[in-house]
Amino acid sequence: MSTRAHWLQLAGSLAVAAVIVAVAIAVVTSKFGSTSAAEREVQEERLEQREESQEERLERREERLEELRDRD
């Protein structure tokens, strides 16, 4: 077998290994769903923002109620 054929076969074998690695990573990653830390962080941030805006709304309502009581 020529040296060129030898290197071509070796490169091909390793290329197949690289494809297997890529496919394995893609398949496993697709099964993670929303369990990744990055997605969890985004969800937690959204939740915090929602809670903050709720608190703000409550504070504003209480202020308005106090103003109304003061007027009466």
């Binding site: 077998m1 030898h6 076969q9 070796l10 091909g12 074998s13 390793l14 197949v16 290994a17 297997i20 690695v21 496919v23 394995a24 990573i25 398949v27 496993v28 990653t29 099964k31 993670f32 769903g33 369990t35 990744s36 830390a37 990055a38 962080e41």
Partner: protein
């Protein structure tokens, strides 16, 4: 070490571990094909036994590296007593792998045991994967 692993994986320690173990398992299956060609059990026209053996050695070194990295992550981040079957299978896997490497590098006279040890590596890797990554993937 725990903080280092946590920073390195950006908090996704389990996910990275599952990916590394799954890649190792997928490559191990490919190793079976390569060594079958290497030993002449399979005779494809496009791959000579000699080249298949060289590729088998290169892919094997990659798998060994992946397994050592995964084991280090596992030991530094997770509690050992959590999953006994996983711990036993993983220790057996690393021991057999070390023995296989020693035979390839130094104890050439024990070369006749390599097929048995290779098979054992695949079986132990499958058990180790099933008791950790497999559980995690089935839960998610």
């Amino acid at each position: 070490m725990e903080d280092f692993v946590d920073n390195l994986t950006n908090g996704n320690v389990t996910e990275v571990k599952v990916i590394l173990a799954s890649v190792a398992l997928a490559l191990a299956v490919y190793q079976l094909v390569l060594i079958s060609v290497g030993y002449g059990k399979l005779r494809p026209r496009f791959l000579s036994p000699r080249v298949a053996s060289v590729a088998h050695r290169a892919v094997g070194a990659t798998i060994a590296t992946l397994l050592v990295v995964t084991a280090v992550m596992c030991l530094s981040y997770f509690e050992v007593e959590d999953n006994t079957a996983h711990v036993v299978a993983a220790i057996a896997l690393l021991t057999v792998l070390a023995l296989k490497v020693a035979i390839i590098r130094r104890w050439h006279s024990l070369g006749r045991f390599l097929p048995v040890l290779g098979t054992l590596v695949i079986v132990l890797l499958a058990i180790t994967w099933l008791t950790s990554a497999g559980d995690f993937l089935s839960d998610s």
